[in-house]
């Protein structure tokens, strides 16, 4: 049996007004291998050529590439190319069958003040997805907004899906309205943003109720307007979230598209928030003002489309 094959190209280009003397970068661009994703090939090509490139795993198990450019430049371009094969979830889930949201919260509750010497709860490494993180503050306003989706006794997953629907219908997708540093409380009050904001917002809502959720970065297959050809580089990188439910494990939710990601989403990395999985962060010395150009193409392909690739 075969999954769905995509060829993904992610181009990041920085154009500087003046000469940059050196720069250092950490890329989080390699799709993450999981039971539902096979990575057949990946290649990160940087121009100007980096002095050295180190590959390592981060705390969350994502693959990072760290490199430095020591030759002065006006323009830097990083191209990440992947050939991935993705599969749908094998288990069909009855979301109404998930445990109540209160029981999920109780399982993660930890009261430091009451704890003085109290019995230590069983170790759960994912408990960190219940806490505030640099881009996701916890706030009563977020909890208030979320509560409408979580009436007493409602199954956790059903509530989370309802919350996703509300964000999708009540918030306007507006690429110019926010930046990555816009606090989610402002996204909440102004009712607009982009995919990162919606993912952060829903994560913040859930965590404010004591429920675990993590941030997922990746790509999504989009359909060109009817009758028009697919344009290379017309897409952007995408972000959604994942909630963790006892028995069912991690379940992805895409509030930007009101969708449960399946074979149209390609996961690159996950972490507490954007800061953990930023696709290409860097420190540039000199260079003055910079302009960022990003182009992403997700193209369905028949295997084997990659030169030299043999898919068994």
């Amino acid at each position: 049996m075969r999954g769905t094959f995509y060829q993904v190209e992610h181009v990041t280009r920085y154009v500087h007004a003046g000469r940059a003397s050196t720069s250092q970068h950490v890329a989080c661009l390699q799709p993450r291998v999981s039971p539902r994703l096979t990575l057949h090939a990946h290649d990160l090509d940087v121009d100007p050529a980096p002095g050295a490139m180190v590959e390592r795993l981060d705390y969350f198990g994502n693959v990072l590439h760290q490199f430095e450019i020591l030759t002065p430049y006006l323009e830097m371009c990083a191209v990440s190319r992947s050939l991935v094969e993705v599969w749908p979830r094998v288990d069909s889930i009855n979301f109404d069958d998930s445990p109540s949201w209160e029981s999920v919260r109780a399982a993660n509750a930890w009261n430091e003040e009451a704890a003085g010497g109290a019995e230590v709860p069983p170790f759960d490494p994912d408990i960190e997805y219940c806490f505030a993180s640099p881009y996701v503050t916890l706030d009563p306003a977020l909890a208030d907004f979320a509560r409408a989706s979580f009436p007493q006794g409602r199954p956790f997953v059903a509530g989370a899906i309802d919350l996703m629907r509300r964000i999708h219908s009540e918030f306007r997708f507006d690429p110019g309205a926010t930046t990555i540093t816009t606090p989610i409380t402002r996204v909440l009050s102004e009712r607009h943003g982009v995919c990162q904001d919606f993912a952060h917002l829903q994560i913040g809502c859930l965590r404010s109720l004591g429920l675990p959720a993590r941030y997922v970065s990746g790509y999504m297959l989009t359909d060109p307007p009817p009758g028009q050809p697919r344009l290379v580089g017309a897409d952007a990188s995408h972000a959604w979230l994942s909630i963790r439910c006892p028995r069912l494990g991690w379940i992805d939710l895409d509030p930007t598209n009101d969708a449960l990601p399946d074979v149209r989403h390609v996961t690159v990395a996950w972490g507490r928030d954007y800061g953990d999985v930023s696709p290409l962060r860097g420190i540039v010395l000199g260079g003055q003002r910079q302009t960022l150009h990003v182009g992403v193409s997700v193209i369905p392909v028949d295997p084997p489309a990659w030169p030299g690739l043999v898919v068994s």
Partner: protein, 786 residues
């Protein structure tokens, strides 16, 4: 309980002092008798009287000020440094009590190190449910970028501080733990130097534990564990957030005591996973970093992207094992007070031994024990928190500084916070004759492992600070001399006849001592009033640190750059500048007469000359010193050529009174008289002040020195610098023939004009070219992309 009258001196002095009920008193026991170690102190403390203690306290305050022991408060809008407060009475810990503290705190440091290693490594404590995962994973100090990193020798913690409070049963109990970048050890050692000399007899009789050895141990540990490759000798630096940090004094102090260069993030760079410091001779490897910068600020690439204080790539260099970082990044997670209830189990699990010390639980707020602090009107009872310091000893273990920082609560008696104005006490740990054998003064200087500080080691930033120190110190001296020559002559119309006033005051104006508007007043004022008007304008111009380029302003700038470079300056140097600055500040705003103004100017000149002398007598002749000298010569060159040009352009330039003033201004009057034995004549004055390569104040002398120093600077000279050096040498070569050509007036005049103009161009050009070649890359602004 009222105390019974006693013939004990300390007890009677403290008879009015009262500790609130419910608090243990450190000096008196339950029956209101002096405790034995305080009894002993009292016997040997000499004449203790309210007057003597108040006088001693005043001396302590003054000394602290002059030594520049400061604690900056961020909140102060003017960014000024607030002096550290130190109480005249020491805090005494008896030997038996200290033995327990020493043993327990060493165990605790070992424990915390093992705890950090587990949390960033195997996480056994979490999986085995010894520590609740939430306590760790929710803590902002748990840095995920550091997971899995093993530091050199397995040592995460090189320096730890514990705040101890005397608990209910009299036992010292841990209130707070500082593992991030603990401050206070430097203040503790500096406190000792101040207080021990007040009670020399008691200090000897009580066998107070010396503090030497502690820093050497730390130093040895860092030097020996620094990962060094390929025959390099270990190079250790101390990373500071900079002069605006609240404990910057201590950073500079420790850098000096440890012999590690003090650097800021901008001085460091990571290339191919190795750390380097930018020096005037290029990049130089760094093998270990003692940091006083909070870890999340240390690397904008992997930690806080908005940090402008860190070094991009530092975490990766550390991860790759190429640099030792003390303390390791991520260690502040074990500061969490919530961990306290679990530490006994952690100790059992990780060290296989019971935890010997107790700590207060996360929500407990203990009642502090009390001790007296000496205030203006007598003793006051204040709460004590004893901060003790534990460091690696360079032999695989930990050592405790046998002393510490006794921090006293503020007047509200609840908070102990240096930022809110609580004071500190020198802590005396009592010991036995054998231990105290090392005299304090001798033990303070680290001796072993002399670093080989090579010529190129001067960081670009230090070089820039020293360059400006040279310029401002010289400029201050020039301004002071100018003031003196004018103020002295104001009272004597023979010395400064009215015809000369425009040119002399013009020089004052171009030096920034007189404002344009004051010069107008002077011109229009009636003859008999003019003197008074000028006098008050000049005195104002001397002390006003804001409106003028005054003496006070220039001295303040000198102190400011000296503060940034203070790890390279002798403490006497610092003391002289600080005292001068204080004097000028104190005099500002007061109505000051001419003779008082002259006295201040005289004292300023003496202090500034002494500062210059110390630079010659004390400083190592490395590139740092060279930049300082270049700054001085450059400033002197532009001053002497500018004043000469003013006079040369004047029709009165042959006037002996004017020439005498000019010679006085250049401190060359005595030299002139010795050589020429007659009234000043213009050609001779020109020879002496412009052309004479033997006069250390002459134009040519500065050009010679500048050419020499610049050529000795490291690396390739930029074309600009090389051209300027050539220009300087050409002018020097012109000088001798011109000196001999007294007769050919026309040629001589042309040469003089050229020299004066060119000299000023060289001064300005050199400053720019040096900045470009040696300093500027320090200030390249790093930009983050996320």
């Amino acid at each position: 309980m009222p105390r019974t009258p006693t013939d004990n001196r300390l007890a009677s002095l403290l008879s009015l002092y009262e500790t609130p009920t419910g608090h243990v008193d450190e000096l008196f026991d339950g029956t209101q008798s002096l405790r034995p170690h305080w009894e002993q102190f009292s016997q040997h403390a000499g004449t203790l009287s309210a007057e003597s203690l108040s006088r001693a306290q005043a001396r302590v305050d003054r000394q602290i000020h002059e030594n520049g022991v400061t604690f900056n408060v961020y909140a102060a809008a003017d960014g000024l440094a607030r002096p550290w407060t130190l109480d005249v009475l020491p805090f005494i810990v008896p030997a038996g009590e200290w033995e327990t503290i020493d043993r327990d705190m060493r165990q605790r440091a070992r424990l915390l190190n093992a705890l950090v290693a587990d949390l960033y490594g195997r996480r056994d404590l979490l999986t085995e449910r010894v520590v609740p995962a939430a306590l760790v994973l929710r803590h902002s100090g748990f840095l995920r970028a550091c997971a899995g990193i093993e530091p050199p020798g397995g040592i995460f913690l090189h320096l730890v501080a514990f705040d101890l409070v005397r608990g209910a049963e009299g036992r010292w109990t841990v209130l707070e733990t500082r593992t991030q970048a603990p401050s206070g050890a430097g203040y503790a050692i500096e406190n000792r130097a101040t207080i021990a000399r007040l009670f020399p007899e008691a200090f000897r009789a009580l066998w107070v534990h010396p503090l030497g050895g502690f820093l050497q141990g730390l130093r040895r540990a860092l030097v020996e564990q620094a990962p060094v490759s390929g025959g390099d000798s270990p190079h250790v630096v101390l990373l500071t957030p900079g002069p605006y940090n609240e404990t910057y004094f201590e950073h500079a102090y420790l850098a000096k005591e440890l012999g590690f260069p003090l650097v800021e993030g901008g001085d460091l760079v990571v290339r191919r996973d190795h750390l380097f410091v930018k020096t005037v001779a290029g990049l130089r490897p760094v093998h270990a970093l003692l940091r006083r910068l909070d870890d999340d600020y240390c690397d904008p690439l992997e930690l806080r992207a908005d940090s402008t204080l860190g070094v991009p790539g530092l975490v990766q260099a550390w991860r790759a094992g190429h640099v030792l970082v003390a303390n390791a990044f991520g260690t502040s997670v074990v500061q969490a007070r919530g961990l306290a209830p679990y530490l006994p189990a952690v100790c059992q699990r990780l060290l296989g031994e019971p935890l010997q010390s107790a700590s207060f639980g996360p929500t407990e707020s203990p009642r502090l024990s009390h001790a007296p602090v000496w205030q203006k009107d007598g003793p006051a009872s204040r709460g004590v928190v004893l901060r003790v310091f534990v460091a690696t000893d360079g032999e695989g273990g930990y050592q405790v500084l046998p002393g510490g920082l006794a921090r006293m609560s503020g007047a509200d008696q609840r908070t102990v916070s240096t930022q809110r104005g609580g004071g500190s006490k020198d802590t005396w740990v009592l010991s036995t004759p054998a231990i105290s054998a090392v005299p304090v003064g001798e033990a303070r200087a680290p001796r072993s492992y002399a670093t080989t500080i090579d010529e190129g080691a001067t960081s670009s930033r230090a070089a820039e600070h020293l360059f400006w120190l040279g310029r401002y110190a010289e400029r201050s001296e020039n301004v002071a001399r100018l003031l003196r020559t004018v103020l002295v002559r104001l009272t004597d119309s023979d010395a400064l006849p009215r015809r000369l006033r425009p040119i002399v005051l013009g020089t004052c104006r171009s030096s920034g001592l007189l404002l344009e508007r004051e010069a107008v007043v002077e011109r229009s004022a009636a003859l008999e009033q003019a003197g008074a008007v000028i006098e008050s304008a000049l005195v104002a111009g001397m002390l006003d640190a804001k409106g003028h380029q005054s003496l006070a302003y220039n001295v303040a700038q000198t102190v400011r750059v000296a503060a940034a470079a203070r790890d390279r300056l002798a403490s006497d140097n610092w003391r002289l500048l600080n005292r001068l600055h204080q004097q000028l500040t104190d005099s500002a705003g007061a109505a000051i007469g001419l003779d008082e103004a002259l006295e201040i100017v005289d004292q300023s000149i003496v202090a500034l000359v002494a500062v210059g002398g110390l630079e010659m007598a004390h400083m190592t002749r490395d590139h740092g010193w060279r930049f300082l000298s270049i700054g001085r010569h450059l400033e002197r060159l532009s001053f002497v050529s500018a004043t000469l040009e003013d006079v040369a352009a004047s029709p009165l330039r042959a006037d002996p009174m004017l020439l005498e003033w000019l010679l006085d201004l250049s401190d060359s009057l005595v030299g002139y008289r010795a050589r020429f034995m007659h009234h000043p004549e213009w050609p001779h004055v020109v020879d002496l002040l412009l052309l004479d390569s033997h006069n250390p104040r002459s134009d040519v002398f500065q050009l010679l020195k500048l050419a020499k120093h610049v050529q000795l600077l490291p690396g390739n000279q930029s074309p600009d610098l090389a051209d300027l050096v050539q220009d300087a040498e050409r002018l020097v070569a012109m000088a001798a023939p011109v000196m001999r050509s007294q007769g050919e007036l026309f040629t001589r005049q042309l040469a003089l004009d050229e020299m004066l103009v060119k000299s000023q161009q060289i001064a300005a050009g050199l400053s720019d070219a040096l900045t470009l070649r040696y300093f500027s890359h320090v200030y390249d602004v790093p930009r983050a992309t996320v």
